[in-house]
Amino acid sequence: MAILQTKDQEAVRKEFERLVGPVKFVVFSQELVAGELCRQNEQLMKEVAELSDKITVEVLNPAIDRERAEAYGVQDVPVTVIEGARDYGIRFLGIPAGYEFSNLIDSTIAVSRGEASLTEETKASLAALPAEVEIKVFSTPT
């Protein structure tokens, strides 16, 4: 059974008309660690990817594809990397449902376009950051 309803598919397909460059969802799954969550996450990512020919999905197992997992800094499952022309450092831990689903769609579009929707002042400040910053955002589907 599909996770996305027909009306959601239509809405996302329309949003994806703004995609420019290719996007890859690199999905880390491990049946033995979190089977049901990983299956659902994989299915959701594949359903979203089917809504545009610019999106591809690659499924990896961190226990097998260790070097790739390490390169992406992935230790948990399910994790999805949203990659555009390069890896921008965007990760989703868990299934992006509810509010996070719209965030997934927004991230996919932004990564595809390689464009950050921020003020010029913000971009200038970010360019001058003295060190790396990892931003963790905890949320729930509702």
């Binding site: 921008y88 831990l93 990564v111 990892e134």
Partner: protein, 70 residues
């Protein structure tokens, strides 16, 4: 949160990790997530709730500067 992802696109130095709190209970406990959204930057700067872009940026700059007073 949208701002985090867009900042990651704008800067090689920023990574944005969205975490579904109920699916990662140990991580949520470790970071004492009581309300969402909860934002943690470099394990130093943290706050709950959405912030406007300018204040969010201030927190990022603080995290990058190693000043954890939040």
């Amino acid at each position: 949160m949208r701002l985090a992802q867009h900042m990651a696109i704008a800067s090689d130095k920023v990574r944005a990790v969205a975490i579904e709190a109920t699916e990662f209970p140990e991580l949520s406990r470790a970071y004492q997530v009581m309300a969402v959204p909860k934002i943690v930057m470099n394990d130093r700067v943290q706050f709950e709730g959405a912030l406007p872009e300018a204040q969010f940026l201030e927190a990022v700059v603080r995290a990058a500067s190693g000043n954890g007073q939040s």
